[in-house]
């Protein structure tokens, strides 16, 4: 049987669906009996969800006309120089 340490090491791969069928079964058996590992896997899942959500948070705050104008001006300049 897998130890908690081994389950924790596999937790990321499991959340990403990157474990073999055999590993998935061993994990399932362990998780059915171990509350600590169940919580840990939930934590990893939450971490991944919050990481994805944090990008969305970033996106909402980003609306920078000044920079967009600067990029487009630089682009025009580069085109005129024909480089």
């Amino acid at each position: 049987m897998m130890s908690c340490k081994e389950v924790a090491e596999k937790a990321n791969a499991m959340v990403d669906g990157e474990v073999s069928a055999w590993e998935a079964m061993q994990l399932k058996v362990h998780l059915a009996m171990c509350k600590g590992c169940g919580r840990f896997v939930d934590q990893i899942r939450t971490t991944d969800e919050l990481t994805a959500a944090a990008a969305l948070d970033d996106m909402m705050s980003e609306a920078d006309d000044g920079r967009i104008n600067a990029i487009l001006a630089e682009l025009n300049q580069a085109r005129h120089q024909g480089g």
């Binding site: 130890s3 908690c4 340490k5 081994e6 924790a8 090491e9 990321n12 791969a13 990157e18 509350k35 600590g36 590992c37 919580r39 840990f40 939930d42 934590q43 990893i44 939450t46 971490t47 991944d48 919050l50 990481t51 994805a52 959500a53 944090a54 990008a55 969305l56 948070d57 970033d58 996106m59 705050s61 980003e62 609306a63 920078d64 920079r67 967009i68 600067a70 990029i71 487009l72 630089e74 682009l75 580069a78 085109r79």
Partner: protein, 199 residues
């Protein structure tokens, strides 16, 4: 946010045609993660922003040559990495994505038989909207990402935030897929640890 654009072909066509609205949309989606990733590579905010701006100019100049062999964001991030490398070289540094950071933050969590020394906490109130110590959980997450070594940070941004497959992340950063997995594992554990300190 798992991106990829619903109609990438349409977006690319609009960009080629010089449609400002299309560019604004792309910029809004990618600029912040590009700066966040570049900061890890360049370590100076002003320079990193400059490199990202150069990247955007290069993207718009060469968008006509985009062939869709990778996703649009994969292509853009690859240009960013190249620009950052060139810039670092000019400043006498090199950028490497190969295994940075030491062992993961879990090694001390287990006893000699591989069992939890302390039961992991139940994160029942860990939601994005929650405010802890004056900052939203998302701000805490972003701070934790900013504290990661460059390679881990880059992998987390590309894989977990941009939703790229491990293969594509490997291509963008020019490292092996195995390395992508190791770095992602470490990065997630580090962010988990930061969140756990709030739980």
């Amino acid at each position: 946010m798992r991106t990829d654009f619903p109609d990438e072909g349409q977006l690319v066509a609009s960009l080629v045609a010089g449609d400002r609205k299309a560019f604004e949309m792309l910029y809004r989606r990618l600029n912040a993660p590009m700066v966040r990733m570049c900061m890890g590579l360049i370590r100076n905010r002003a320079t990193a922003e400059e490199v990202v701006q150069d990247t955007w100019v290069a993207v718009l100049r060469s968008i006509g040559g985009f062939e869709g062999r990778s996703s649009l964001s994969g292509w853009i991030f690859a240009i960013l990495v190249n620009k950052a490398r060139t810039r670092a070289q000019r400043d006498g540094r090199t950028i490497s994505f190969d295994g940075d950071g030491d062992d993961d933050s879990l090694s001390a969590a287990f006893d000699g038989r591989g069992r939890w020394k302390n039961m992991p906490d139940l994160w029942d109130e860990m939601t994005a909207e929650r405010i802890i110590a004056g900052r939203s959980v998302m701000e805490h997450v972003n701070a934790a990402i900013d504290a990661l070594p460059a390679a881990q940070r880059s992998v987390l941004i590309l894989r977990s935030q941009q939703g790229m497959e491990a293969t594509e992340v490997a291509r963008v950063l020019e490292i092996s897929e195995g390395n992508v997995r190791v770095l992602l594992h470490r990065a997630r554990l580090a962010v988990r640890k930061a969140l756990d300190a709030l739980a």
